[in-house]
Structures are given as structure tokens and as C-alpha cells.
């Protein structure tokens, strides 16, 4: 237990901040994922074959390639890509991107592919009559989407989005390979310096279980809220 003490003697405070870091990365990645889903869901539902192809390419590639490989692409290729863009504008110094940004971008793109599929499925399962009724009532496109489709879609999407959240939360453990100090990295450091890997990795497992448990409880509340009237 003294291994977990707060302050200089134990690893309690370090692990606490690492847990906050995991939560921060997961939330950022989830939001980045929503942003990507916002772009790619309409593409997948579009009438045009080419746009469909672009949308399908994104979700198929990201869901078919291991997360770790995507993270390595961002980790090794991220600063190169930024420097290439910068060189167009005449800036030739070395640019290093923050591990937090690289990590949450990589996980965000992965989570976005899953979110896209969830939103696509949710929109497709809304009755066609709803769209037609909205049109007949003379509601404009914006109102149709925000007042009629979105609330119904959310109810259908939340159970699946909670799965995406769980996947995202667990995927953040992989960005420990880039050196970002989250739960996994901190446990690795602690295990290395105390030579007690069994304890620290098991404790990391407990922290992850705690995170998934708490988030499940919170999401269940949301689910109840959005399924009022059903």
C-alpha cells in the first residue's frame, strides 16, 4: 500500500494524474472522432457513388488496420507531415508535435470510423416517413436535421456510442508507446523503478475497470434521458 502513497514516497499522485490524462485523451479523441463522423457520415449516406467511395474507404481502412499501426504512422509521420506543410510556407525549422496531440488525433481518427458507422446505422433506421412529414410541414433542412432527425437518432445511437467510448478508452492505453504519460506509461515507469510489475499493471487494470464502470453508469443515465416516451 505504501507504493501508492501520495507525495514523494509513493506513486499515488503520479497514477492519479495519469488517470486524469487518460480521461483527457479519451474525451479529446472522442470529440475528434465526432468531428470526423460529422464529415464522413453524410458522405456515406450521399447519393453520389464517388462520395460513398470516400466514406467507405475511411471506415474500411481504419477499422481493418490495427490501432497500433495507425499510432506508429502518426508518431513517426506526424511531425514530418507538418514540417512538409510548413516548408511550403517557407518555414524550415524542426517542428515537434506534442505527444498529447499526436495521440488524441490518432485515437480520434480510429474512434471516428466507429462513430461514423454508428451514426450511419442510426440515421438509416429512422422511418422514412419522418423525413417526409418534416418536408410536408415546410420545415427547412436545418430544422429537419436538428429538431426531428437528431433527437431520434441520438436515442438509437447512444447504446452503440457507449461501445465506441469503451473502445476509445481502452485504445488510449496504446499511445503509451509514444511516451505520453497516461495510466499505462506511468505503470510502466513505476514498474521499472520499483521492480514490481505485477502490482502496478494489476493496479492499472483496476483503474481501467473503474473508468469503464463509472462511464457505463453515466451513459445509462443518458440512455434513460433520451428514451423518454418510449
Amino acid at each position: 500500500m505504501e507504493l501508492l502513497a501520495f507525495g514523494k514516497t509513493g506513486w499515488g499522485d503520479e497514477l492519479f494524474y495519469a488517470t486524469l490524462m487518460t480521461i483527457a485523451v479519451s474525451i479529446t479523441a472522442m470529440l475528434v472522432g465526432f468531428f470526423f463522423a460529422l464529415i464522413f457520415t453524410p458522405l456515406k449516406l450521399s447519393k453520389y457513388k464517388t462520395l460513398n467511395l470516400v466514406g467507405n474507404f475511411y471506415t474500411t481502412v481504419i477499422r481493418g488496420v490495427p490501432e497500433l499501426l495507425v499510432i506508429y504512422l502518426f508518431f513517426f509521420g506526424g511531425s514530418g507531415a507538418i514540417m512538409y506543410v510548413a516548408s511550403i510556407f517557407g518555414y524550415y525549422e524542426y517542428i515537434e508535435i506534442n505527444a498529447f496531440i499526436t495521440g488524441s488525433m490518432a485515437i480520434g481518427i480510429i474512434s471516428g470510423a466507429y462513430s461514423t458507422e454508428v451514426f450511419r446505422g442510426a440515421i438509416q433506421s429512422i422511418d422514412k416517413g419522418q423525413f417526409e412529414a418534416a418536408k410536408v410541414l415546410g420545415i427547412n433542412k436545418f430544422g429537419q436535421f436538428y429538431k426531428i432527425i437528431l433527437p431520434q437518432m441520438l436515442r438509437l445511437a447512444i447504446p452503440n456510442l457507449s461501445n465506441v467510448w469503451q473502445i476509445t478508452l481502452k485504445d488510449t492505453s496504446l499511445i503509451s508507446v509514444t511516451g505520453l504519460v497516461e495510466i499505462m506509461r506511468q505503470s510502466y515507469i513505476a514498474a521499472g523503478s520499483t521492480r514490481d510489475p505485477l502490482f502496478f499493471y494489476s493496479f492499472a487494470a483496476v483503474l481501467y475497470l473503474l473508468l469503464t464502470y463509472v462511464s457505463m453508469k453515466l451513459i445509462n443515465k443518458l440512455e434513460v434521458k433520451y428514451s423518454r416516451g418510449y
Binding site: 481493418g64 490501432e67 504512422l73 505485477l198 475497470l209
Partner: protein
């Protein structure tokens, strides 16, 4: 684009794919039995057995695979007692540690898939078997298991693909699988995009094959001929 690098790295990556496929097939094979075992435990009416099986699947589904591999590879070696038993022969090899971790992980997901498949079997089918005088054991092996396998095919196909992506984590415990070799080539040549295209292409090809095999099996074993 460095086409030469892509061509020269292709055979190396293809050789590493063999390691990935070995890890995948071994863990799926053992994981299927483990999953079936725990799915049967989940259907048991005894609350302790039931809770035990639920706890297993909850723990392994609620924690990242990386943590599980690290606990088995780095953590178990710390127990002095284990080092003296014959288990140490297995546990000192990263290859077997990875397979154990993958098996336990896929077993947890498989048990959930099979449990829900067992629960969706209509009671009428079992009753029909009973009224024909078939023993409970035969009903289970000849009626419930085949229907459950058919029901769980789509979800199990997803699990195979997830597991194939999961084997990439073997590279974190020094195994040179497809991702491990890809990382090695990237870190020596600093050409991440080219290597990503080749390695990602191989992974996508495997996903494509698995997807189509499952689709074929689904069609073959569908109820409506």
C-alpha cells in the same frame, strides 16, 4: 513516395505475417473452447458459477489488451514460486505469453457472443426435441450448439477481425509480428507512409478474406435455403 522501399520491405512484412497468422489461429482455437466453456457456465443457474463467469468476461472486456499482456509477460515472472514450476517453461517465452493473453481476451468476448446466441434460441425448438424423446445431452450437442454457432457467426466474424488487429500488440513484448517488423522498418528508414501502406494493405487483405469467408459460411448455414 519511395517505391523501392515498398518493394524491398514487402517480403520482410510478408514473412512477419506468418507470425501474426500463427498467433491469431492459436489464440482463436483455444479461445473458442474457453469461450464455449464460460458461455455454458453463464447459463448455469447456480449464482456463484454464474457470477464467476460474468466476472471473468467483465474483467477481460473492461481492461485494455495491452494491460493483460503486460501482466502476464512482465507481472507473472515476478512470482518466485512460478519460476520453479514447469509453467515457467511456457511463461518465459513472449510467444506463449502473448497467446495466453489473446486466448483469455478472445475467450471473454466469445463467451458473451455465444451466451447471447444460446439465449436467442426459441424454447419451442428445445421443447420439440424433448417431446421427441431426445435426451438433454443430445439436445444440447445436436440442437442447441449448431443453432448457437449459426446465430453467432456474424458477431464472431467481427471478433476474429478484432483479434487479428489485437495480435499487433504482440510487438510490444518483443515479438516480430507484422506490426513489429513494420515499426522496425519505419524507425530505421523514417518512411512511415510507405511502410504503412504496405503493412496496412496486408492487414486489409486479411480482413477482406476473413469477412468473405464468414459471409460464405453465413449463407451456407442460413435457415432459408
Amino acid at each position: 513516395m519511395d517505391l523501392d522501399l515498398m518493394i524491398t520491405s514487402f517480403p520482410k512484412l510478408l514473412g512477419a505475417t506468418v507470425v501474426t497468422l500463427k498467433l491469431l489461429s492459436a489464440s482463436l482455437f483455444f479461445g473458442l473452447f474457453l469461450g464455449l466453456f464460460f458461455a455454458i457456465l453463464r447459463l448455469n443457474k447456480n449464482i456463484f458459477i454464474n457470477k464467476f463467469a460474468y466476472g471473468y468476461s467483465y474483467i477481460f472486456r473492461g481492461t485494455p489488451l495491452l494491460v493483460q499482456i503486460f501482466i502476464i509477460y512482465f507481472g507473472l515472472g515476478q512470482i518466485e514460486y512460478l519460476r520453479t514450476t514447469f509453467l515457467w517453461v511456457i511463461l518465459k517465452e513472449p510467444y506463449w505469453c502473448a497467446i495466453i493473453a489473446f486466448t483469455l481476451n478472445t475467450g471473454a468476448y466469445t463467451s458473451e457472443i455465444l451466451r447471447s446466441a444460446f439465449q436467442t434460441i426459441k424454447p419451442g425448438i428445445i421443447e420439440a426435441g424433448k417431446s421427441l424423446g431426445i435426451s438433454n445431452k443430445i439436445i444440447f450437442y445436436k440442437i442447441q450448439i449448431p443453432i448457437a454457432i449459426r446465430q453467432s457467426l456474424p458477431a464472431y466474424g467481427n471478433e476474429i477481425i478484432l483479434m487479428m488487429k489485437g495480435t499487433s500488440l504482440a510487438s510490444t513484448v518483443t515479438l516480430m509480428d507484422l506490426t513489429g517488423v513494420a515499426k522496425y522498418i519505419i524507425s530505421t528508414t523514417f518512411k512511415p507512409i510507405e511502410v504503412f501502406i504496405v503493412a496496412g494493405g496486408i492487414y486489409l487483405f486479411m480482413t477482406f478474406i476473413i469477412h468473405n469467408v464468414i459471409k460464405y459460411l453465413e449463407k451456407k448455414y442460413s435457415f432459408q435455403q
